[in-house]
Protein backbone atom coordinates (compact mmCIF):
# COMPACT_ATOMS: atom_id res chain seq x y z
CA UNK A 1 0.00 0.00 0.00
CA UNK A 2 1.48 3.33 -1.00
CA UNK A 3 1.56 6.40 1.20
CA UNK A 4 -1.44 8.66 0.63
CA UNK A 5 -0.90 12.42 0.92
CA UNK A 6 -2.93 13.85 3.80
CA UNK A 7 -6.42 15.29 3.27
CA UNK A 8 -6.86 19.03 2.78
CA UNK A 9 -10.39 19.34 3.94
CA UNK A 10 -12.76 17.81 6.47
CA UNK A 11 -16.52 17.91 6.12
CA UNK A 12 -17.78 17.52 9.67
CA UNK A 13 -21.45 16.53 9.49
CA UNK A 14 -22.32 17.29 13.10
CA UNK A 15 -25.96 16.27 12.86
CA UNK A 16 -28.53 15.15 10.35
CA UNK A 17 -31.23 17.11 12.16
CA UNK A 18 -32.45 20.01 10.00
CA UNK A 19 -35.53 22.25 9.93
CA UNK A 20 -35.54 22.01 6.12
CA UNK A 21 -36.57 19.05 3.97
CA UNK A 22 -34.94 19.75 0.58
CA UNK A 23 -35.60 16.91 -1.88
CA UNK A 24 -31.97 16.98 -3.12
CA UNK A 25 -30.34 16.84 0.34
CA UNK A 26 -26.83 15.39 0.19
CA UNK A 27 -27.36 13.40 3.39
CA UNK A 28 -28.01 9.67 2.99
CA UNK A 29 -31.53 8.24 2.78
CA UNK A 30 -30.98 6.52 6.15
CA UNK A 31 -30.31 9.49 8.42
CA UNK A 32 -28.41 9.32 11.72
CA UNK A 33 -30.74 10.06 14.60
CA UNK A 34 -29.89 12.34 17.49
CA UNK A 35 -29.19 9.45 19.89
CA UNK A 36 -26.42 8.19 17.59
CA UNK A 37 -24.64 11.57 17.28
CA UNK A 38 -21.12 11.80 18.65
CA UNK A 39 -20.54 13.82 21.78
CA UNK A 40 -18.64 17.06 22.01
CA UNK A 41 -15.53 15.37 23.38
CA UNK A 42 -15.44 13.00 20.40
CA UNK A 43 -15.55 15.89 17.94
CA UNK A 44 -12.87 17.78 19.89
CA UNK A 45 -10.59 14.75 19.57
CA UNK A 46 -11.43 14.40 15.86
CA UNK A 47 -10.41 18.03 15.32
CA UNK A 48 -7.09 17.40 17.09
CA UNK A 49 -6.45 14.38 14.88
CA UNK A 50 -7.49 16.21 11.72
CA UNK A 51 -5.10 19.09 12.37
CA UNK A 52 -2.24 16.71 13.16
CA UNK A 53 -2.95 14.75 9.99
CA UNK A 54 -2.71 17.85 7.76
CA UNK A 55 -6.30 18.98 7.29
CA UNK A 56 -6.36 22.72 6.53
CA UNK A 57 -10.04 23.55 6.52
CA UNK A 58 -12.98 22.25 8.51
CA UNK A 59 -16.44 22.64 7.08
CA UNK A 60 -19.03 22.34 9.85
CA UNK A 61 -22.09 21.00 8.15
CA UNK A 62 -25.13 18.83 8.71
CA UNK A 63 -28.11 18.64 8.52
CA UNK A 64 -28.15 22.01 10.18
CA UNK A 65 -24.96 22.28 12.25
CA UNK A 66 -26.42 25.13 14.31
CA UNK A 67 -28.83 22.59 15.80
CA UNK A 68 -25.82 21.48 17.88
CA UNK A 69 -25.36 23.71 20.92
CA UNK A 70 -21.66 22.86 21.10
CA UNK A 71 -20.93 24.42 17.69
CA UNK A 72 -19.21 27.55 19.11
CA UNK A 73 -17.02 25.32 21.29
CA UNK A 74 -16.02 23.21 18.29
CA UNK A 75 -15.28 26.33 16.21
CA UNK A 76 -13.15 27.75 19.02
CA UNK A 77 -11.20 24.53 19.30
CA UNK A 78 -10.63 24.24 15.54
CA UNK A 79 -9.57 27.86 15.42
CA UNK A 80 -7.02 27.31 18.18
CA UNK A 81 -5.59 24.46 16.07
CA UNK A 82 -5.19 26.94 13.19
CA UNK A 83 -7.80 25.12 11.12
CA UNK A 84 -9.78 27.38 8.79
CA UNK A 85 -13.36 27.21 10.05
CA UNK A 86 -16.30 27.31 7.68
CA UNK A 87 -19.96 27.01 8.62
CA UNK A 88 -22.32 25.54 6.03
CA UNK A 89 -25.78 26.55 7.17
CA UNK A 90 -29.38 27.08 6.11
CA UNK A 91 -29.30 30.25 8.23
CA UNK A 92 -32.72 29.69 9.79
CA UNK A 93 -31.24 29.43 13.31
CA UNK A 94 -29.09 32.54 12.94
CA UNK A 95 -29.93 35.49 15.14
CA UNK A 96 -27.75 38.17 16.74
CA UNK A 97 -26.99 36.00 19.76
CA UNK A 98 -26.14 32.73 17.98
CA UNK A 99 -24.07 34.59 15.41
CA UNK A 100 -22.17 36.53 18.03
CA UNK A 101 -21.20 33.27 19.76
CA UNK A 102 -19.76 31.92 16.51
CA UNK A 103 -18.02 35.18 15.64
CA UNK A 104 -16.43 35.37 19.07
CA UNK A 105 -15.29 31.75 18.71
CA UNK A 106 -13.29 32.81 15.64
CA UNK A 107 -15.41 31.54 12.76
CA UNK A 108 -13.62 32.34 9.48
CA UNK A 109 -16.39 32.07 6.91
CA UNK A 110 -20.06 31.22 6.38
CA UNK A 111 -21.69 29.49 3.45
CA UNK A 112 -25.38 30.31 3.57
CA UNK A 113 -27.81 28.31 1.45
CA UNK A 114 -30.80 29.71 -0.38
CA UNK A 115 -33.28 27.47 -2.15
CA UNK A 116 -34.46 30.19 -4.55
CA UNK A 117 -34.92 33.96 -4.84
CA UNK A 118 -38.64 33.47 -5.11
CA UNK A 119 -40.23 32.98 -1.68
CA UNK A 120 -42.86 30.46 -2.80
CA UNK A 121 -40.30 28.48 -4.80
CA UNK A 122 -37.83 28.51 -1.92
CA UNK A 123 -40.35 27.36 0.64
CA UNK A 124 -41.73 24.66 -1.68
CA UNK A 125 -38.22 23.14 -1.82
CA UNK A 126 -37.20 23.69 1.80
CA UNK A 127 -40.62 22.84 3.18
CA UNK A 128 -40.35 25.46 5.94
CA UNK A 129 -42.67 28.44 6.01
CA UNK A 130 -40.94 31.74 6.83
CA UNK A 131 -37.50 30.39 5.95
CA UNK A 132 -36.77 32.86 3.15
CA UNK A 133 -37.13 35.92 5.38
CA UNK A 134 -34.97 34.29 8.06
CA UNK A 135 -32.25 33.64 5.49
CA UNK A 136 -32.35 37.22 4.23
CA UNK A 137 -32.08 38.45 7.82
CA UNK A 138 -29.21 36.04 8.45
CA UNK A 139 -27.32 37.34 5.42
CA UNK A 140 -27.67 40.91 6.69
CA UNK A 141 -26.54 40.01 10.19
CA UNK A 142 -23.50 38.15 8.81
CA UNK A 143 -22.62 41.11 6.62
CA UNK A 144 -23.05 43.55 9.50
CA UNK A 145 -20.54 41.56 11.54
CA UNK A 146 -18.13 41.49 8.62
CA UNK A 147 -17.92 37.69 8.46
CA UNK A 148 -16.96 36.60 4.93
CA UNK A 149 -20.03 35.19 3.22
CA UNK A 150 -20.69 32.81 0.35
CA UNK A 151 -24.23 32.20 -0.82
CA UNK A 152 -25.12 28.78 -2.13
CA UNK A 153 -27.94 28.10 -4.56
CA UNK A 154 -28.69 24.55 -5.63
CA UNK A 155 -30.40 24.88 -9.01
CA UNK A 156 -32.81 22.55 -10.80
CA UNK A 157 -35.62 22.76 -13.33
CA UNK A 158 -37.97 24.65 -10.97
CA UNK A 159 -35.62 27.53 -10.14
CA UNK A 160 -32.89 27.53 -12.78
CA UNK A 161 -34.60 30.26 -14.80
CA UNK A 162 -33.89 32.64 -11.90
CA UNK A 163 -30.10 32.27 -11.89
CA UNK A 164 -29.68 35.92 -13.02
CA UNK A 165 -31.73 37.10 -10.00
CA UNK A 166 -29.74 34.78 -7.70
CA UNK A 167 -26.53 36.43 -8.84
CA UNK A 168 -28.02 39.90 -8.40
CA UNK A 169 -29.21 39.05 -4.89
CA UNK A 170 -25.74 37.77 -3.96
CA UNK A 171 -24.20 41.04 -5.06
CA UNK A 172 -26.87 43.08 -3.32
CA UNK A 173 -26.38 41.21 -0.03
CA UNK A 174 -22.64 41.84 -0.20
CA UNK A 175 -21.54 38.22 -0.50
CA UNK A 176 -17.98 37.90 -1.70
CA UNK A 177 -18.77 34.61 -3.39
CA UNK A 178 -21.73 32.70 -4.70
CA UNK A 179 -22.01 29.07 -5.64
CA UNK A 180 -24.49 28.20 -8.36
CA UNK A 181 -24.57 24.44 -8.13
CA UNK A 182 -26.67 22.27 -10.38
CA UNK A 183 -28.24 19.41 -8.42
CA UNK A 184 -26.17 16.26 -8.07
CA UNK A 185 -28.12 13.04 -8.23
CA UNK A 186 -27.32 10.82 -5.27
CA UNK A 187 -29.55 9.66 -2.44
CA UNK A 188 -32.47 12.07 -2.16
CA UNK A 189 -31.56 13.85 -5.39
CA UNK A 190 -31.62 10.57 -7.28
CA UNK A 191 -35.07 9.76 -5.84
CA UNK A 192 -36.31 13.10 -7.20
CA UNK A 193 -34.20 13.17 -10.34
CA UNK A 194 -36.97 13.43 -12.91
CA UNK A 195 -38.54 16.39 -11.11
CA UNK A 196 -35.22 18.22 -10.69
CA UNK A 197 -33.50 17.58 -14.02
CA UNK A 198 -33.08 20.74 -16.10
CA UNK A 199 -33.44 20.67 -19.85
CA UNK A 200 -30.42 21.22 -22.07
CA UNK A 201 -31.82 24.65 -22.95
CA UNK A 202 -32.20 25.58 -19.26
CA UNK A 203 -28.63 24.50 -18.62
CA UNK A 204 -27.36 26.59 -21.48
CA UNK A 205 -29.27 29.66 -20.27
CA UNK A 206 -27.89 29.30 -16.74
CA UNK A 207 -24.34 28.98 -18.04
CA UNK A 208 -24.84 32.13 -20.08
CA UNK A 209 -26.19 33.99 -17.04
CA UNK A 210 -23.06 33.06 -15.09
CA UNK A 211 -20.76 34.22 -17.90
CA UNK A 212 -22.60 37.57 -18.10
CA UNK A 213 -22.54 38.08 -14.33
CA UNK A 214 -18.81 37.36 -14.20
CA UNK A 215 -18.25 40.13 -16.73
CA UNK A 216 -20.60 42.49 -14.88
CA UNK A 217 -19.42 41.94 -11.30
CA UNK A 218 -15.74 41.19 -11.90
CA UNK A 219 -13.78 40.60 -8.70
CA UNK A 220 -16.52 42.00 -6.48
CA UNK A 221 -18.37 38.68 -6.69
CA UNK A 222 -16.57 35.38 -7.23
CA UNK A 223 -18.89 32.87 -8.88
CA UNK A 224 -18.37 29.14 -8.48
CA UNK A 225 -20.44 27.30 -11.03
CA UNK A 226 -21.09 23.57 -10.73
CA UNK A 227 -22.55 22.05 -13.89
CA UNK A 228 -24.81 19.01 -13.90
CA UNK A 229 -23.35 15.68 -14.90
CA UNK A 230 -26.22 14.39 -16.94
CA UNK A 231 -25.89 16.74 -19.89
CA UNK A 232 -22.13 16.15 -20.01
CA UNK A 233 -19.99 13.57 -21.74
CA UNK A 234 -16.99 13.74 -19.44
CA UNK A 235 -17.31 12.90 -15.74
CA UNK A 236 -16.24 15.23 -12.96
CA UNK A 237 -13.14 14.42 -10.89
CA UNK A 238 -15.36 13.55 -7.95
CA UNK A 239 -13.84 14.80 -4.65
CA UNK A 240 -10.57 15.38 -6.53
CA UNK A 241 -10.14 11.61 -6.51
CA UNK A 242 -11.22 9.02 -3.94
CA UNK A 243 -9.28 9.40 -0.71
CA UNK A 244 -7.00 12.08 -2.07
CA UNK A 245 -8.06 15.45 -0.69
CA UNK A 246 -11.30 15.13 1.16
CA UNK A 247 -12.67 13.34 4.19
CA UNK A 248 -16.22 13.30 5.49
CA UNK A 249 -17.28 12.35 9.01
CA UNK A 250 -20.93 11.52 9.67
CA UNK A 251 -22.83 12.50 12.84
CA UNK A 252 -22.26 9.04 14.32
CA UNK A 253 -18.53 9.08 13.48
CA UNK A 254 -18.24 7.09 10.26
CA UNK A 255 -15.40 8.26 8.06
CA UNK A 256 -16.16 8.44 4.35
CA UNK A 257 -14.33 9.55 1.18
CA UNK A 258 -17.50 11.43 0.12
CA UNK A 259 -20.91 12.09 1.62
CA UNK A 260 -22.66 9.48 -0.53
CA UNK A 261 -20.17 6.66 0.09
CA UNK A 262 -22.39 4.80 2.55
CA UNK A 263 -24.15 3.35 -0.50
CA UNK A 264 -21.03 1.34 -1.47
CA UNK A 265 -21.73 -2.37 -0.73
CA UNK A 266 -19.51 -5.08 0.78
CA UNK A 267 -17.14 -2.83 2.67
CA UNK A 268 -16.85 -1.86 6.32
CA UNK A 269 -17.27 1.81 7.13
CA UNK A 270 -14.54 2.83 9.55
CA UNK A 271 -15.40 5.00 12.53
CA UNK A 272 -13.47 7.55 14.57
CA UNK A 273 -15.08 5.97 17.62
CA UNK A 274 -12.92 2.89 16.96
CA UNK A 275 -9.82 4.04 15.06
CA UNK A 276 -7.78 7.17 14.63
CA UNK A 277 -8.54 9.42 11.68
CA UNK A 278 -4.96 9.03 10.44
CA UNK A 279 -5.04 5.23 10.39
CA UNK A 280 -8.44 5.26 8.68
CA UNK A 281 -7.23 7.69 6.02
CA UNK A 282 -4.06 5.75 5.39
CA UNK A 283 -4.92 2.09 5.92
CA UNK A 284 -8.66 1.38 5.89
CA UNK A 285 -10.00 -0.84 3.09
CA UNK A 286 -12.67 1.79 2.31
CA UNK A 287 -10.19 4.59 1.61
CA UNK A 288 -7.98 2.31 -0.44
CA UNK A 289 -10.83 0.77 -2.42
CA UNK A 290 -10.76 3.30 -5.28
CA UNK A 291 -7.65 5.29 -4.44
CA UNK A 292 -5.33 6.03 -7.36
CA UNK A 293 -5.80 4.20 -10.66
CA UNK A 294 -5.05 0.52 -9.99
CA UNK A 295 -8.71 -0.36 -9.41
CA UNK A 296 -9.81 1.02 -12.77
CA UNK A 297 -11.55 -1.06 -15.43
CA UNK A 298 -11.38 -0.36 -19.15
CA UNK A 299 -11.86 2.12 -20.77
CA UNK A 300 -10.49 4.13 -17.80
CA UNK A 301 -7.33 2.06 -17.37
CA UNK A 302 -5.85 3.14 -20.69
CA UNK A 303 -7.48 6.55 -20.86
CA UNK A 304 -5.28 9.66 -21.01
CA UNK A 305 -7.73 11.43 -18.66
CA UNK A 306 -7.53 8.85 -15.87
CA UNK A 307 -5.59 11.18 -13.60
CA UNK A 308 -7.77 14.13 -14.62
CA UNK A 309 -11.23 12.77 -13.78
CA UNK A 310 -10.11 9.74 -11.68
CA UNK A 311 -12.79 7.65 -13.37
CA UNK A 312 -15.57 10.02 -12.28
CA UNK A 313 -17.85 9.29 -9.37
CA UNK A 314 -17.99 5.85 -7.72
CA UNK A 315 -21.38 6.44 -6.08
CA UNK A 316 -22.86 7.51 -9.41
CA UNK A 317 -21.39 4.47 -11.16
CA UNK A 318 -22.99 2.32 -8.46
CA UNK A 319 -26.34 4.09 -8.53
CA UNK A 320 -26.67 3.87 -12.30
CA UNK A 321 -25.02 0.55 -13.16
CA UNK A 322 -25.12 -1.42 -9.90
CA UNK A 323 -21.31 -1.65 -9.98
CA UNK A 324 -19.28 0.85 -7.95
CA UNK A 325 -16.10 0.00 -9.88
CA UNK A 326 -17.59 0.67 -13.32
CA UNK A 327 -16.61 3.67 -15.41
CA UNK A 328 -18.89 6.57 -14.46
CA UNK A 329 -21.65 6.35 -17.12
CA UNK A 330 -21.49 10.13 -17.54
CA UNK A 331 -18.40 9.41 -19.62
CA UNK A 332 -19.17 9.13 -23.34
CA UNK A 333 -16.67 6.23 -23.46
CA UNK A 334 -18.72 4.20 -20.98
CA UNK A 335 -20.74 1.43 -22.63
CA UNK A 336 -23.64 2.55 -20.43
CA UNK A 337 -23.62 6.26 -21.30
CA UNK A 338 -27.12 5.84 -22.79
CA UNK A 339 -28.46 5.52 -19.21
CA UNK A 340 -27.41 9.10 -18.55
CA UNK A 341 -28.68 10.47 -21.84
CA UNK A 342 -32.07 8.82 -21.28
CA UNK A 343 -32.35 10.18 -17.73
CA UNK A 344 -31.47 13.67 -18.91
CA UNK A 345 -34.55 13.78 -21.11
CA UNK A 346 -36.97 11.62 -19.09
CA UNK A 347 -40.47 12.80 -18.12
CA UNK A 348 -41.11 15.06 -15.17
CA UNK A 349 -44.25 13.72 -13.50
CA UNK A 350 -44.90 12.97 -9.86
CA UNK A 351 -44.42 14.56 -6.45
CA UNK A 352 -41.26 15.34 -4.51
CA UNK A 353 -40.07 12.82 -1.97
CA UNK A 354 -38.95 15.20 0.78
CA UNK A 355 -36.00 14.47 3.03
CA UNK A 356 -37.40 13.01 6.24
CA UNK A 357 -36.18 10.79 9.05
CA UNK A 358 -39.09 8.45 8.34
CA UNK A 359 -37.56 7.09 5.11
CA UNK A 360 -37.23 4.29 4.14
Amino acid sequence: MSFAPPPMSLLAELTHRCPLACPYCSNPLALDRRASEMETKDWLRVLDEAAALGVLQVHFSGGEPMARHDLPELVRHANALNLYTNLITSGVLINEKTLEALDTAGLDHIQLSFQDVDKAGAERIGGLRGAQQKKLNAARLIKARGIPLTLNFVVHRENVARVPEMLDLSHELGAGRVEIAHTQYYGWGLKNRDLLMPSAAQLEASTEAVVKARARFGNSLAIDYVTPDYHADQPKPCMGGWGQRFVNITPSGKVLPCHAAETIPNVTFPSVTENSLGSIWQDSPLFNLFRGTDWMPEPCRNCSLKEVDWGGCRCQALALTGDASATDPVCARSDRHALVMEAATAGHDGEFLYRRFSYP
Binding site: P6, G54, L56, D108, G146, I147, P148, T150, R177, N219
Partner: protein, 91 residues
Protein backbone atom coordinates in the same frame (compact mmCIF):
# COMPACT_ATOMS: atom_id res chain seq x y z
CA UNK B 1 -2.87 49.78 -11.18
CA UNK B 2 -0.07 49.97 -8.65
CA UNK B 3 -0.09 50.62 -4.95
CA UNK B 4 1.66 53.57 -3.37
CA UNK B 5 4.76 52.81 -1.30
CA UNK B 6 3.11 54.54 1.65
CA UNK B 7 0.25 52.03 1.60
CA UNK B 8 -0.11 49.71 4.52
CA UNK B 9 -1.46 46.38 3.40
CA UNK B 10 -3.28 43.70 5.32
CA UNK B 11 -5.05 40.43 4.67
CA UNK B 12 -8.80 40.85 4.36
CA UNK B 13 -10.98 38.98 6.80
CA UNK B 14 -11.35 35.38 5.63
CA UNK B 15 -7.81 35.27 4.20
CA UNK B 16 -4.57 34.54 5.99
CA UNK B 17 -1.05 33.29 5.43
CA UNK B 18 -0.26 30.09 7.23
CA UNK B 19 2.68 27.73 7.42
CA UNK B 20 1.62 24.13 6.88
CA UNK B 21 3.88 22.02 9.09
CA UNK B 22 2.72 18.72 7.62
CA UNK B 23 3.55 19.63 4.00
CA UNK B 24 6.20 22.22 4.85
CA UNK B 25 4.72 24.88 2.56
CA UNK B 26 3.24 28.34 3.04
CA UNK B 27 -0.43 28.67 2.17
CA UNK B 28 -2.99 31.38 1.71
CA UNK B 29 -6.14 30.21 3.43
CA UNK B 30 -9.24 31.59 1.69
CA UNK B 31 -12.99 30.91 1.75
CA UNK B 32 -13.38 27.20 0.98
CA UNK B 33 -9.95 26.93 -0.66
CA UNK B 34 -6.26 27.25 0.02
CA UNK B 35 -3.49 28.33 -2.37
CA UNK B 36 0.15 27.39 -2.07
CA UNK B 37 2.39 30.46 -1.85
CA UNK B 38 5.68 29.83 -3.67
CA UNK B 39 8.84 30.72 -1.71
CA UNK B 40 9.07 34.23 -3.22
CA UNK B 41 5.42 34.99 -2.50
CA UNK B 42 5.76 33.53 0.99
CA UNK B 43 8.79 35.76 1.75
CA UNK B 44 6.83 38.84 0.66
CA UNK B 45 3.58 37.92 2.37
CA UNK B 46 5.21 37.18 5.71
CA UNK B 47 5.94 40.91 5.87
CA UNK B 48 2.32 41.89 5.20
CA UNK B 49 1.18 42.50 8.76
CA UNK B 50 -1.10 45.51 8.69
CA UNK B 51 1.70 47.66 10.12
CA UNK B 52 4.57 47.80 7.61
CA UNK B 53 4.22 50.07 4.59
CA UNK B 54 4.84 48.73 1.11
CA UNK B 55 8.08 50.77 0.98
CA UNK B 56 9.31 49.18 4.21
CA UNK B 57 8.50 45.71 2.87
CA UNK B 58 10.52 46.40 -0.29
CA UNK B 59 13.49 47.74 1.66
CA UNK B 60 13.45 44.81 4.08
CA UNK B 61 13.45 42.31 1.21
CA UNK B 62 16.15 44.20 -0.73
CA UNK B 63 18.36 44.04 2.34
CA UNK B 64 17.59 40.42 3.23
CA UNK B 65 18.18 39.14 -0.30
CA UNK B 66 20.92 41.67 -1.23
CA UNK B 67 19.04 42.51 -4.44
CA UNK B 68 18.53 45.82 -6.30
CA UNK B 69 15.61 47.75 -4.85
CA UNK B 70 13.88 48.33 -8.22
CA UNK B 71 13.90 44.61 -9.05
CA UNK B 72 12.37 43.75 -5.67
CA UNK B 73 9.88 46.62 -6.00
CA UNK B 74 8.60 45.25 -9.31
CA UNK B 75 8.13 41.72 -7.93
CA UNK B 76 6.40 42.98 -4.81
CA UNK B 77 4.11 45.36 -6.71
CA UNK B 78 3.09 42.67 -9.20
CA UNK B 79 2.19 40.15 -6.52
CA UNK B 80 0.45 42.51 -4.13
CA UNK B 81 -1.53 44.31 -6.83
CA UNK B 82 -2.84 40.98 -8.06
CA UNK B 83 -3.81 39.92 -4.53
CA UNK B 84 -5.56 43.25 -3.92
CA UNK B 85 -7.53 42.72 -7.16
CA UNK B 86 -8.54 39.28 -5.88
CA UNK B 87 -9.60 40.79 -2.52
CA UNK B 88 -7.06 38.69 -0.65
CA UNK B 89 -5.34 41.87 0.56
CA UNK B 90 -6.59 45.37 1.11
CA UNK B 91 -4.64 48.61 1.11
Amino acid sequence: MSVSEDSILKFTRGHRLQHDRVRDVWLIQAPEKAFIADPVAAAILQLVDGARSLGTIIETLAETYQAPRDVIATDVQTLLTSLIDQRVLSA
